[in-house]
């Protein structure tokens, strides 16, 4: 693996994408990677039946920070072997297997072997198996092997099994805790640990990591988020090259010994006929290039070797222990996938620390919140800013504006929105905004303009500079003929157009769409929601022409497009980041799976509202594939259950905006979701999710510190105390919607101490004033910079 040296992260190449062949065993076997196309595959780790390995080359920094995205989804892989040669490479400066842990989903894994010879190498500077623990879902894992051979070596300096424990999911233990109960079985008892590290504490942190939902352990918490992992405990590095040699010897020993059947090195490995010399070379290369610093070399080499020798012996013993342990573990905790994980099933198994059970027991004293003693009883109010005030006045007098020259673009946009909202928009005002060949035209409500007026306004408009064209609700004016006379007139072109939005263009046909797309080859974002004339032919055309560059596609509620016909088109998009297929008829699990697996890797925003045929398996595939999902909308999908939410929690941990609505999720499930994957949440809607109650409130208060907007409309089980707790804990909260919550009284309204939050929906005042000004509007594309069109003279491009 040349990638190992050159200062790159070892798994750099690996990360590219593993193809484990038929995925019997995925070896992060440095050597194999070298030989095989672990490095070549590049695209995606397709481990046969393993879903997604998530070792994206670029993302694989094995940085704490990035590790959240690392997801080794065992999927249906038989055996996950981190035969650590490569891992060795990882360590460079980062936690070696850090990320791996990030999302190790044992899933249906039979055996997860962290054959550590590599891990040993991992150590470089950081925790060796750091991340592994992060999220080891042993749910259906038969064997969880931390064959300490490597670990032993790993332990170079640190706690090795440290993090492993961190997030060993014993099945019902969600992921954040090394379920004490699991611990027993898993034999991460100090005996192993002791052996493992010679110098370190093995399960040192084990206890520390047990996370009780009742929220005690502060240090614990889910290991799933990259944020957590990012803040690594500083571990001083250093493995000397002597040690590296030792590791190599270990590996050799390991390779040559007669392992139990399930520890047999995989065929792949054997095929490659790796020699120890190569491993040695690799190790030394790593050393040389990555420049291990040995400032913590506090032991004499002899002592180290001695210790390592002892470790080897212990490791063998440990191996045996492990095997025994995992069989017991498997027996106790193996459960068929799909089973409810939220705690009900754990009731029958008293040893398993059920978070849900814990919660139920301490239900009553769970929320203790007292309202503020406020004699004045003055409701908090905002002082409207001068900017808002003047914008409002300006908007209401829009007719009298002579010119908007010199006004910054952001203000122009806000003004335009306000004018549209107050229905004062007309051709004259529009003219103010489109004068002087601007780069952006954003009209969010064009329902007032007729086709003729449009032709007049845009008939001589110079489209050369135009980058963004938004003309929503344009059913009245946009038709094929109008397009032909304005945007598509002879000798016209749209070279710089990157974003186009023509929502509601109900007279726009496939033909006109084709013309538009041909004229604007640089399009990156197309929003054609509610364009009811469009069919799959139009979409196919877009896919053919723009498959390589389109990032955002919104075709919600185009009811003439049938999902079956859509599949082939959507598969052609390679870089799709935003996709909205809300309301597309007949969108079922199979179709969505096809689409997501083919083009869903980069998706950050997915809207599936009203696609009622979707079930939990869709959420599963989303969780597995879309690891960078930032926004998800699953309103009105009645067939989803808590299991689906669990898949989502496992897979999509950087989610920022989640819109649930009318789903049948339980309180515990949502609470657990927030705990695991909700730390970056900024916008959460639980509209009509009727089961929301104290557990969710507690979770929100504890884990969602970044929350900006919360919608708890029609959640009638939420009480004053719970709301008070949320509002007083989430200091960033700006907007709280409480429509239909007549159970909320002044106890909350006047008793909370958050001066920033706007509460709407209870008394219908100040409804629209600030409802829309919460987030800054996306300037261009939401997740990428707008690419500079080739050949354009527009050099001072503003990229987001």
């Amino acid at each position: 693996m040349d990638g190992l040296d050159g200062g790159k992260k070892g798994a750099d190449e690996i990360g590219g994408g593993f193809d484990g062949g038929v995925g019997k065993r995925l070896d992060f076997d440095g050597v194999s990677a070298q030989k095989r196309g672990f490095s070549e595959t590049g695209g995606d780790a397709d481990c046969g039946v393993c879903e997604r390995w998530g070792f994206d080359g670029e993302r694989l920094d094995f940085d704490g920070g990035v590790s959240e995205r690392l997801k080794i989804d065992g999927g249906v892989g038989e055996k996950l072997d981190f035969v650590g040669e490569n891992s060795g490479g990882f360590s460079e400066k980062k936690k070696g297997v850090d990320g791996i842990g990030g999302g190790l989903d044992g899933g249906v894994c039979e055996g997860v072997d962290f054959d550590c010879s590599n891990s040993g190498g991992l150590n470089g500077k950081n925790k060796g198996v750091d991340g592994i623990g992060g999220c080891l879902d042993g749910r259906v894992c038969e064997n969880l092997d931390y064959d300490g051979l490597n670990l032993g070596a790993l332990s170079g300096k640190r706690r090795v099994v440290d993090e492993i424990e961190g997030g060993l999911d014993g099945g019902v233990c969600e992921k954040s805790d090394l379920a004490g109960g699991v611990c027993e079985e898993l034999d991460f008892e100090t005996s192993n640990a002791g052996n493992l590290t010679g110098r370190k504490r093995g399960i040192d942190e084990c206890g520390g990591e047990v996370d009780q939902v009742a929220g005690e352990s502060a240090a614990g918490g889910s290991r799933y988020t990259g944020v957590d992992k990012g803040k690594g405990k500083e571990i001083q590095p250093s493995i000397s090259s002597d040690e590296e040699l030792e590791l190599v010897q270990h590996l050799e020993y390991f390779m040559n010994s007669d392992p139990a059947p399930d520890l047999q090195p995989p065929e792949i490995f054997q095929q490659n006929e790796v020699g120890v010399r190569e491993l040695d070379y690799l190790n030394q290369q790593q050393d040389a290039v990555l420049g291990f610093q040995r400032e913590q070399d506090y032991r004499e080499p002899e002592v180290r070797n001695e210790e390592l020798a002892r470790i080897v012996e212990d490791d063998i013993q440990w191996l045996e222990d492990r095997k025994r342990a995992r069989r017991q573990f498997a027996l106790r905790f193996a459960r068929p996938s799909g089973e409810d994980w939220d705690g009900e099933s754990s009731a029958s198994n008293p040893n398993v620390p059920s978070t849900a059970r814990n919660m139920k027991q301490s239900d009553h004293p769970l929320i203790r919140w007292k309202p503020l003693e406020n004699d004045d009883n003055i409701p908090r109010r905002f002082v409207p800013s001068l900017l808002d005030l003047s914008l409002t006045v300006l908007a209401s007098n829009a007719d009298m504006i002579l010119s908007l020259k010199g006004v910054p673009d952001t203000l122009k946009k806000r003004l335009c929105n306000l004018v549209c909202d107050s229905r004062k928009m007309n051709a004259r005002v529009l003219d103010l905004f489109i004068r002087d060949s601007p780069e952006e035209i954003r009209v969010k409500d064009a329902s007032w303009i007729t086709g003729d007026q449009f032709k007049k306004s845009f008939g001589s408009f110079n489209f050369k500079n135009l980058k963004v064209f938004q003309f929503d609700l344009c059913g009245r004016c946009i038709s094929d003929e109008v397009i032909a006379a304005t945007l598509a007139r002879p000798l016209s072109s749209l070279p710089g157009l990157g974003i186009i939005s023509l929502r509601g263009a109900c007279h726009l046909s496939d033909e006109a769409l084709k013309v538009l797309v041909t004229l604007a080859p640089g399009l990156c974002s197309i929003n054609l929601g509610e364009c009811s004339l469009l069919t799959h032919i139009g979409i196919n055309y877009i896919a053919d022409v723009l498959g390589n560059c389109l990032r955002e596609l919104m075709i919600d509620y185009c009811y003439r497009i049938d999902a079956k016909d859509l599949v082939s088109a959507l598969k052609k998009f390679k870089y799709l980041e935003v996709l909205s297929v809300a309301g597309i008829p007949n969108l079922c699990d199979g179709i969505l799976t096809d689409i997501i697996t083919a083009s869903g890797r980069n998706i950050r925003d997915l809207d599936l509202t009203d696609c009622e045929r979707l079930t939990d398996s869709s959420l599963k595939i989303i969780g597995q594939t879309c690891s960078d999902l930032r926004a998800l909308n699953i309103v009105n999908l009645q067939n989803l259950t808590d299991v689906g939410l669990s898949y989502l929690a496992n897979g999509c941990q950087s989610i920022r905006s989640l819109k649930l609505g009318r789903n049948k999720f339980s309180d515990e499930a949502i609470a657990k979701f927030i705990e695991i994957a909700g730390r970056l949440l900024e916008e959460l809607s639980l509209n009509h999710v009727s089961q929301v109650g104290p557990l969710t409130a507690l979770s929100l208060a504890k884990f969602s510190q970044k929350l900006l907007s919360l919608d708890l409309s029609w959640c009638r089980k939420v009480t004053d105390e719970e709301l008070g707790l949320i509002v007083d804990s989430c200091w960033s909260l700006k907007l709280l919607k409480l429509f239909g919550c007549t159970q909320i009284t002044n106890v909350f309204l006047h008793g909370h101490s958050n001066s920033l939050v706007q509460i709407i929906g209870l008394d219908m005042t100040s409804l629209m004033e600030r409802a829309g000004t919460l987030k800054p509007e996306a300037i261009h594309l939401r997740f990428s910079p707008l690419p500079v069109p080739c050949g354009s003279e527009n050099l001072d491009q503003q990229d987001v």
Binding site: I378, R381, V383, S385, L386, L387, L389, S390, L391, V393, L394, N397, M400, I401, L404, G406, V407, P408, L411
Partner: protein
């Protein structure tokens, strides 16, 4: 009013408005100028000049500061803005972050 409690805001034409410091702090920009560490000359001398803001606008802005303090303490009245001033006022308000 003591001198330490006031700031002087100077318009483009050179008119000087002496207002209460608390009122001026309604503007985030002015607040930053007056309270950030490091020595802005504004902090030292207690005067801030706005060469792009005309006198009428600056006057209106000072009125807004006082209105805003009143509003926050309970007295909810309406702040009237003459339409002719609005455009420039909006841009000045944007600049002053108020």
């Amino acid at each position: 009013m003591k001198k330490e409690d006031t700031v002087k805001l100077i318009s483009a034409e050179g008119f000087e408005f002496i207002i209460d410091k608390k009122a001026a702090m309604v503007s985030q920009t002015i607040r930053n100028m007056l309270t950030s560490p490091g020595s802005f000359s504004e902090t030292e001398h207690g005067r801030v000049s706005f060469p792009e803001i005309s006198t009428t606008i600056l006057e209106k802005i000072c009125q807004y500061f006082h209105w805003s303090l009143q509003y926050a303490s309970g007295k909810e009245t309406e702040f009237h803005i003459e339409p002719e001033l609005t455009l420039e006022l909006m841009m000045a308000a944007n600049y002053l972050h108020t």
